[in-house]
Symmetry: D2
Subunit: 335 residues, 4 copies
């Protein structure tokens, strides 16, 4: 059993704490949040202590590993503390909104043998994973094109969106990682078109965009397309399609049930999609914990690395630049 | 080119006349209907003569073959005339409402070398045909079970239903043929449950049933299930499922287009099914004409025979008896 | 929290013990099995005590409720003990292989206010439940026909099958309950055809059948069809279709992932079905525990009752009789 | 009845001639091809005369309208002759490989009242048409994104590809038209990535690309994505997805039959897609003829106009430029 402490008790921290507490391979050691009552509530529900500070967690010999689920601006510092304290760490995405801070962090932790595991949970979804595996297995021959469709069921709060770093760093970053996961080759060029179509007034206030299409290519000529919207009325739309010389594999949407209905004027009507990531990726979040336990116990290298987090961040940076300047951005430009 | 005359210019006769006129392998020689104006209208539209009588058609050396699409009570006489005149014939189902008249007809035409082709059009549907072919090819190993779902989009007129011979002889007969087509073994026992659920008042007036479930088995133990309804509000439901030791094949429904829709509260909503047999089996009716032309030209034996018509009729008779007497009926009882 | 003891530590008992131990609303109090080492193993894994005897469990004031997952022949006695000890009970199906013992048990426990919950887990599957709910909601108007397709992925061991009571009591019983769940009206007549097609030699040795089709009707004329096979090579096939005056709803199959594949000669190929009930009904087994907790805590009546178990048993008895005697069996014949 | 002459008897000219000859609203007046035997063969099969020259067709008072299905370099001249002769015309795409010749032609025929109908056949496909109609009907609210997937089943001959004008002008042009058909707003910017992945050696010899992804936006911010491949081993992949504020509609692929298969290791395997445009768009080509007949008879304006042809050509030009120069191209740059 791996004893894990959770830093940050917001929506995703609570979920991680619950999953860790119930997972057959982990126990929840303690929790912490800068907002005391949040930590208190999780701790009571799950019967674990609240840690006095992150430092207390890092100093606790009973803590085998930590999950960083606190606000984005704290990730880099906590990552460095984690490495210094030699605690394996599962860090939620993104590493930081500033690519230069990410690069600095990369240098600071370079060479560490402490497992650092990035929380790109979608890699652990059984369907997306099956697509990536099929590509690696050669099921579709040589890969030519990847299409990622990713639409949220609705907008987050204005407060959240204001500090999110923009759609590419906050939302598309998952799709950049998915594209990399499937492509098997680094992207060399990115071009992105964005628009304010879902909620133009809000987007103007926060200087962001809510509808984007991104086109990428690798040095080898493979192409990847991402399309995002901040609101799909039919639910959380999560699809991946990989096309190659010998065929295609696709990751299709999931629903809360498999019922279909026929009536006057329609047939085969299915349920709306699962509402959002906690429901849609329930199984993936649990599989992620198992993979993290493997990394902590030294049974496997981290399935998603700091470098994966850094590369996704670079793509988000390139897309942001592309959309702002209206041009194709070469990744090499970012240094 | 095969010159074909059409006897009977009701809905299905009109359709056959039109198909024959446009088919690359056939020409329409002439048409006849006891109701003169019906024949006149078809003849004018398609630019062919109206025959003075069935006898005139059978005597016409320019007529290579005939289609019998007149009212059911005339089928047996016209079939016999056709054989006597040595004209290959495509006869619509059923051969007759009376099984004893069918048996008499069988004796009367026994030994003829004139191609007699029964109009069980569903055998020519590309999807149903693919299912039957897959069964014969061994794709599903040894066949164990067949399930036929067949529901009309709505009730025919009371006038039609009154003389239809009852649901088993009028509607289920197609499904009996489909079951035989797929089973590849004769049925030995039949049991049928019927009810008046769609339009109880009408069914009581005409002493018929509108909702039936039929269970059959062959001597070898294969099982076939048919379920019928006279009204499915979502359209003409036509499915066949064949299950065996190595898998399953299914014939799924067809729609006028392949669009699906997603919206608030639903996903993947498809169009209602094609409305009725003329739309649903358009391709099948044309393929049937080609198969009939093959039989007329001696290139192939009739794809559906008088014996197929007779066997389907026996199953309809057995089901009628089963539903009426509330018991399992052995086909051997029918002689 | 409801403290639950589990009687019987075979495959399904182990699963219940694990689910109860991890469920947020229950704790596992203790386990028992006539085969000591089986109980020991479960107890160790889950960190609970092994009870010395069923009597010890029934006498334990720390036990709020029990699950009966022992061999079928012990169910009736344990049920009676449970009622006598005033412990709410979740009893696996079937109640007993002998209908007369079931009837005796019914009399013996008549009038008890102790919640008795029958383990027809499929009612808790989100998709089957959505179908039943849609029928009750009037989504399809008045119900006319129900079709249940239920095929196991493979044969159980000869040892198990020999004492199973035959396919209707062991396997179809779930489908009888599903039909009742959806029909909303008691069945009045049953007819069943059975055959030895999957493994004729084995079936002959154990005097059973492996492929069955069942037709049922209610007093109101509603029809229900069940088709079963002991082996579907593509996995555990679990479908329900409900057809009515205003449409149809269907419970479709589930797969371990939602990937589809396209290649030379095929498109949209999906994964095989989940292998068997523990995987297929994972969510349902957990929801069942929650519903049982509701019953134990008096928040709701048992969602599935002893009477539901008894009625399913009567249908199994009627089907067994029908298949053996080759006739339609009226439920009234069973007394 | 509209009497139509067909100029050009290659694959698509033959098909048009056949469709026109059999269509209930048209007759085939005559055919012409610069390669006499090609015209001769079509003429004999369909029983019509071979015209001595295009001029003879334009001078023939018995010809009500013409179809231009000759080689692309002849389209502009024949279009002008058609207008001069006051013969309504259905012209196959593209108008010309040179955008400047297209612009010159536009000027030359400006102001004519002769119906000029562009052969973008996909607009007449029932499924694509249903998608465009749903968008116009507001079924999906305000349109935000369009995704067109279009992959050929295999490469055309090197001879054909060499003179095709490149993938954007030859293949993607249909998708540009489809995007415009659905978008309902002109595109303002285009960016395209291309690669040689299907047959790099051939592509190098003919200086073309075989795998492309195109991103476009309108002045209003709507986004359209096209992805193309010259070879999909599973058949002719033709999909369109339109996403908006109130939902999504999708045009799904068509197959020669609706059978699905289940077996060891797979479920719901469907047939490969229809092989190529003549099979896939059979119904659309016939509906196109009916729409053309409407235009010729003055019942409706041409459903697809010269201007539609010109705009698609501009998009092809912009995409070609974008792929060559590695930059976003504004349509305004093209003048």
């Amino acid at each position: 059993m791996v004893a894990v402490a959770v830093l940050g008790c917001g929506r995703i921290g609570q979920m991680h704490a619950r999953n860790i507490a119930r997972h057959p391979r982990t126990t929840l050691a303690s929790v912490f949040d800068v907002h005391g009552p949040s930590a208190q509530k999780v701790a009571e529900t799950l019967g674990v202590p609240v840690a006095a500070s992150p430092e207390a967690i890092f100093a606790d010999p009973a803590v085998d590993a930590v999950v960083i689920a606190s606000s984005t601006d704290t990730h880099v510092d906590l990552l460095k503390m984690s490495v210094a304290a030699r605690k394996p760490v599962l860090c939620e995405k993104p590493i930081d909104l500033s690519l230069s801070r990410v690069e600095d962090c990369a240098k600071a932790i370079a060479g560490t043998d402490i497992p650092i595991f990035l929380g790109f949970v979608r890699r652990f979804d059984p369907t997306h994973a099956a697509v990536a595996q099929a590509v690696r297995d050669g099921t579709i021959g040589t890969l030519h094109q990847v299409v990622v469709t990713s639409r949220d069921p609705g907008l987050a709060s204005e407060a959240y969106l204001t500090v999110s770093g923009g759609i590419f760093r906050d939302m598309t970053i998952h799709d950049f990682d998915m594209a990399r996961f499937v492509l098997g080759e680094e992207v060399s060029e990115v071009v992105a078109f964005g628009a304010r179509l879902v909620d133009p007034a809000l987007m103007e206030r926060i200087d962001d965009i809510d509808t984007v299409s991104v086109l990428m290519r690798t040095a080898g000529g493979r192409q990847a397309i991402i399309n995002n919207s901040r609101r799909a009325v039919y639910g959380y739309d999560q699809r991946v399609e990989a096309f190659g010389s010998a065929g295609m594999v696709a990751s299709n949407n999931c629903r809360p049930n498999a019922m279909t209905a026929w009536g006057e004027g329609f047939t085969e009507k299915a349920a709306p999609l699962l509402d959002f990531f906690i429901e849609r990726y329930t199984e993936a979040f649990n599989t992620e914990i198992a993979a993290f336990a493997d990394a902590v116990e030294g049974k496997a290298a981290p399935a998603v690395t700091f470098e994966d987090g850094r590369q996704a961040q670079r793509l988000a940076e390139a897309a942001t630049l592309s959309a702002r300047e209206g041009r194709i951005v070469k990744l090499a430009e970012l240094g």
